[in-house]
Symmetry: D2
Subunit: 332 residues, 4 copies
């Protein structure tokens, strides 16, 4: 950590600051320049709150050298994390396809889609039971009954289930669910993250619409620091000024997150673009960029889907797409 | 609602769409242009999910005419909402000052600050007991003990309390709290919003970092639709590419939100800028732009504050600022 | 075009507006709803200035149905535009590799790099002679001498040249240059775009950092409307809150722009990411997403490059990458 | 400048880097930490290109301590720059009102508006002759004839003229113009900035839609480094995801830019919001935040304005607003 002091700092306050830092166990290197004095902190600064230093009136700016996350940091865990779900492994060189409808609507629907995507190569079924909707008047999901139907589909197809949890108090209901998904709007719901850190279930965290790679890794750190090592990162588009697509899919997140962290990185091209016509090309791009997996919305009747119809592809489109994804993955 | 069809739509599918819309109670006006056919829906479209229409394969685009919120909409509630808290009223021409530290640290601290800001003209005390922090290693607040100390400060000064609730299961603890604050990161925590809609306490909702005015009003709509009419909107900066300030304070939100809605609008210049030196000028700007109130972080010892020290002003600065704010408010 | 009127519009003003619109040759369809009256304009609205209507005091909002560009619009030109440069064609199913250093530094440098990238499969040489730099103190390029050296490299290798033009008055100097590049910072330099519209040279327009797909197509429209049909679109990242990468590469621009327009779309992963380590994966992703070409910075000695060293890959890396790109292109 | 090295840097490469830096005249302080070695550069780094260092393969990251601009930096010029235009001074505690139509349309129009705004307290007339429009089909301004009419209005009212220059080759035409405006879309048109640096006329630079405070100050630095000290900064909104307003007005730019620089800061609430109804409140907010002036679009017949009608206020609205602005300015 680098502390840049204001010009002509009060000597007594400087001594106070240096003493305080030494008490915290840091070694201090000081460089006196023409216009600035700089203090370099030597020691483990990953858990120090930068504001505690920058509020000091003799400090102009504080710059981090070390990342503020440790459990999620590849520097301290060079090997890829591989997460076992059912018979599938996420990470470590695999391309995992997670597919299914935005929301569960009926037993026939979820089972039919599950069977179709399984045949095409998907190894995990997705489907929403509790749906976070921006409008209180929109369909909010089938709730408990949705969970029941997802487990039915699991029973019939053997596919593990990934579905969204919205609140820590829902944990008992999710006991038989395989992957607990944290939505983009809950990425910084720290109560929920803390609760998930105390479970041992795989947690898939979606990047918030205004969150940096570091913010996402800090949310992962909440779960990891709680004792749960099974975290999957998911990019699903960030919010920008471009309105043609629902969000802006940031595929550079794949190599970037995989450099910064050892956790697997999944791409959701459906929510990222909001347009089914863009899903195949963005899925192929993600595979080419080295994604560990894709989460794709597949619906057997998009025009009548109860939510997110415009971004859902059909089982036929998915069946056409999946083999291309595996071929590109093997090439890249 | 305007439905723009693709060129040469299949006539049978068009008939199906029109029948479905008429069944929902809408009148349909159709305009046939050179390149596009347009359907105009007449009726109350505020509660219709736009995706249900745009997923139809003959539809190119759907544009809303009516806003998707109704309870929060000034068109249906032309009068300003005024919210009574203790002896203060928020909205309806008042300028309410909410002040206090980022987090409660001790009885001495919170009481001393409460007394100071009260003397300067603040009528509501703020202070965090449960703190949402991006790092799991940062100070997370005093929790229950923090709530106890806030109520102590209320007892001693008579100031009503505004503090952040992070989870619906905390509601019993907040029974004596006057204003329940929903943080920017929880603005779209719909489980929490639904629970707050069932209380009758004033709820202050902070705008999320990537949320539009409409998104904010939709979150307000969740609370209002639940039966709780006491919602206060709070702008606290959005995330942009500019990094000199922590966020970008969007003061045009004041006249915009007050045009779109009847709910009071409060500005938080402390979180918006992240720099105490910018707080006075941004507070005056907010008052000049017609804000119903300001929420300002005041700490008696910013360099040793347990959080957000860099953005906290001192009681002296606040005492110097407050009279200017009232003068500008009366002018504007 | 849809005109949404305010509630209870003044009838005389409404008559005036309708007459003015009819005089411009539009048919008007009017829908009277519960809260809104809507006018639908039938006719060619691509060239109408939306502000001329929305400034009217009885108008609440105007929404475009037809795109405001015509020459660049695929609806009116369904076939892909294919641009012939030397022996290469850009667009129409090809994958064109444009490679070379950020800036020309010496004859040895540019010729050596040109020969290397040609051998690896690049068919166009890039290199800056006039460099737009954010700092007046940074290297501004070799100017005229840089152009001379680029032409020397063309002579020796046969590769056509793509280089940036910064001002219309430089046109005579660029007489023998094959593709005139308009930088992101000049994307809305309309004086320059108008001048380029009067030439018949291929013009490669880079998307501005805060520009939408529509803005980019409007800049293309300036060149096309001037009579020059040879426009190439180039995505090079937009500016967002994420700072790990220099910009955020928006690969959904590829299928989106190709749907909206018939013009070829090129990706520049070097400026988009600012990090050479990300260039290979983003190049493969672009090829998988259907890009018509890639523009990649290649330098034989990145640590000593006079500009943009951190984002330049070496000839060896390029040689390793190029065959993968062609394989993926053929698959996708 | 702080150079953070990768773990275990090659000792020979490190020696090479240190020698190269010392040759450039810097003193080097080195701190060896647990995971990182850090080099601190002591000396004037304002003109060094950060990329020349960060491209080195042993370097992980380079962080600036000193700002990359010197002429625009308040640290080296503590006194406010005051710019004399006609009988008015911009900066140094004044509030200057610049008002007039988006574009000059006729002699009657510009003279009538000039007389009105002068009476209300404006001391500079604005009006566009050359208009940068996103559409090639929109009104492009009256060009040369527009300049002639502006000078006519100056003759009749004595008001100095501020109007936009789009290209360096227009300089001779602008000989009698008092303030040369550089539009947001040309903020990084470095050819134009260099040409303006060689004149001695006041130059008003509008912040680009995706440009940081530092970018804006770097563009100012181009003009200042060329020898022209008369630069005025203008905030006119940045581009964000919010679409209710045309842009997002960033009023924290006022105290921020005035801290970083000695140059005057002007606010343009008209382009920032795109809505005339928001102009009065945002003007008052800007005055309260300490702006040195305002640039406001005033049109005598907004519904028939040839451009930007929706954001233009009438002379009556301006006359009502101006005295409030002076009162707030004197208070703040």
């Amino acid at each position: 950590m680098i502390i840049i002091l204001k010009e002509h700092p009060d000597q007594q306050k400087l001594n106070g600051l240096v003493t305080w830092l030494k008490d915290k166990g840091f070694d201090i290197h000081s460089s006196v320049g023409a216009n600035h004095t700089i203090l370099g902190l030597v020691g483990d600064t990953s858990q120090i709150d930068i504001d505690l230093i920058s509020a000091n009136e003799i400090v102009e700016e504080v710059k981090r050298v070390q990342e503020p996350y440790k459990n999620a940091n590849r520097k301290f865990h060079p090997e890829d994390t591989v997460i076992k779900v059912g018979n599938t492994e996420i990470g470590g060189g695999n391309l995992t396809l997670i597919a299914g409808p935005c929301s569960v609507e009926s037993e026939e629907q979820i089972v039919e889609i599950a069977e179709a995507v399984k045949k095409s190569g998907a190894t995990i079924l997705r489907g929403g039971a509790f749906k976070p909707r921006t409008s209180p008047y929109a369909f909010q999901g089938m709730a408990l009954e949705g969970i029941r139907l997802l487990l039915k589909a699991k029973e019939k197809t053997g596919l593990p289930i990934c579905t969204e949890i919205m609140d820590a108090n829902q944990l008992p209901i999710f006991e038989d669910i395989d992957i607990l998904q944290v939505g983009a709007r809950n990425m910084q719901n720290f109560s929920l993250l803390k609760a998930l850190g105390k479970t041992n279930k795989p947690v898939l965290i979606k990047r918030g619409m205004a969150c940096t790679y570091q913010d996402l890794l800090m949310s992962a750190e909440y779960v990891l620091a709680g004792g749960n090592p099974n975290v999957i990162l998911c990019e699903r588009g960030i919010r920008t000024f471009e309105t043609y697509t629902r969000n802006t899919l940031d595929l550079a997140s794949i190599p970037s997150l995989k450099t910064l962290s050892h956790l697997p990185v999944i791409i959701d091209p459906s929510h990222a673009t909001g347009r089914s016509a863009l899903v195949p090309s963005m899925s192929m791009a993600a595979a080419a960029a080295g994604a560990d997996g894709l989460m794709i919305e597949v619906h057997n009747d998009p025009p009548h889907a109860k939510c997110d119809g415009p971004q859902s592809i059909t089982p036929e489109m998915f069946d056409n797409l999946a083999p291309k994804l595996f071929t590109i993955h093997n090439l890249a």
